[in-house]
């Protein structure tokens, strides 16, 4: 991992400038260097460590967040590119003490072991449901393939998602 503080700006490039990001409904203003990824901004600058860093190269999905309702890999976008957008992270899914139905279902179905991939899996599943392209377990599997799980909790992850989709009448039964 390259530390964000390490780099020196070339002549004429101011190393940090203030930006405003809208995260989980609230606006956060903070100074940041343009070469900071959204993932590093969340974890290192805002102490929002719910979003995880797995590979840092778009290959694992641990860093998945929602931007304007769509799931993306926060490790491959710059924080400055997301100014003006609506960013949602795992921290923003519950309503107070009330968990999001997908969070409930992951607990119910034992859909994790170490839990490291889980925030990414859940945010990805929220995106999947927003997209509305999965209608059965095999389509859920294909459209969740951007999220790897080293512990191999895949079958339970698919069950958890399918369960929520069934309750909302979104899968062919």
């Amino acid at each position: 991992m390259s530390l964000i503080f390490e780099s020196e700006a070339p002549a004429g490039v101011s190393s940090t400038s203030p930006i405003t990001l809208k995260i989980n409904g609230s606006e956060k203003q903070f100074p940041i260097a343009p070469w900071t990824t959204l993932l590093d901004a969340l974890r290192e600058h805002l102490d929002m460590t719910g979003t995880k860093k797995g590979c840092d190269h778009g290959q694992c999905g641990a860093c998945t967040v929602l931007v304007n309702g769509k799931r993306i890999n926060s490790c491959l976008t710059l924080a400055v590119m997301q100014e003006g957008n609506d960013i949602q992270t795992i921290e923003g899914l519950s309503k107070g003490e009330q968990l999001h139905p997908l969070q409930e279902a992951f607990i119910e179905h034992d859909a994790f072991q170490c839990g490291y991939c889980t925030p990414g899996q859940i945010c990805s599943a929220v995106g999947l449901m927003n997209e509305g392209k999965a209608h059965n377990a095999s389509e859920i599997r294909e459209l969740m393939s951007g999220n790897l799980c080293r512990c191999g909790a895949y079958t339970n992850i698919v069950d958890a998602i399918e369960d929520v989709m069934k309750k909302e009448g979104r899968v062919n039964q």
């Binding site: 390259s2 780099s7 020196e8 700006a9 070339p10 004429g12 490039v13 101011s14 190393s15 260097a33 343009p34 070469w35 990824t37 840092d56 190269h57 778009g58 999905g61 998945t64 769509k70 799931r71 993306i72 890999n73 491959l76 976008t77 710059l78 400055v80 590119m81 990805s124 995106g127 999947l128 997209e131 392209k133 599997r141 294909e142 459209l143 969740m144 393939s145 951007g146 999220n147």
Partner: protein
Amino acid sequence: MNPFAYTRAYGVDTALDEKTDVAQYIGGGTNLIDLMKEDVMHSELLIDVNHLPFHTIEETEAGGVRLGAMMTNAETAYHPLIEERYPLLSKAILSGASPQLRNMATNGGNLMQRTRCYYFYDTATPCNKRQPGSGCSAINGFNRIHAILGTSSECIATHPSDMCVALAALDAVVHVSGKNGKRTIPFTEFHRLPELNPEKDNTLQSDELITEIELPAEGFKDHFTYIKIRDRQSYAFALVSVAAALQLDGDTVRDVRIALGGVAHKPWRDQGAESLLKGKKATEENFEQVAETILANAQGFGHNTFKIELAKRAIIRALSEALVNQHHA
């Protein structure tokens, strides 16, 4: 990543004004940021092109459509006009990357993505594409994912895109704007072969910006397929892929398109081989003959030699599937 400045362009003119040799356009960032983290690509200024006004799909007077270069791959693949009229393109896009990446990747960026050659990514090894004149580590190294057609003594890399294989089959046209004005590039002339200067992936000039991709009226929606053969069934690059499309008069082939991915420095079309099939019966025997012709000059480098037979079989299977495929939108 090296330190850089960032600017957003809201108009083509400003984007072009800001573009110099040490500046890069950035779309979804899914390839550029990755390569900058790996120290393979560098930039002093990133020009964010996502706010340029090329986010729609419009029907053209010629009966085709124009895709905005800043639309995402997901928006394009799921667009009703594309699903209905160009299902081959939808299928190819959806076989690539992951849902998250397709939500970020832009159509322009997809065309411009760099090779996945492991030595290109590894700055500790020689690579003519990354550092001209340093040598090619793949020719005598591990080359399982490398090219079998159109290679040169300097580079045997492949172009990794799925979307581009479909665009080559469909005879798309790329619209670009540069400091000297606008021009169009036929898709088969957009990417190039490595020859003696593999550092150039394509024929775009360094200041030029892709603004739109145009598809002709014929979308081959009745008989098409995209087959992608890879090490795992999802979220992996193609070892070999085939976009196949047919137009039939009864059981006679009126028109045929065959484009291959994973086998060359560009999506591979062989119009000469295609024309062998035109006017002939759509039989497995004739499909075999076309496959043999397309691979006649193929050359393996050891680990990738299996791709020659794999590509032949994939072509035959793709044409057979396209024959019976009926699109149900």
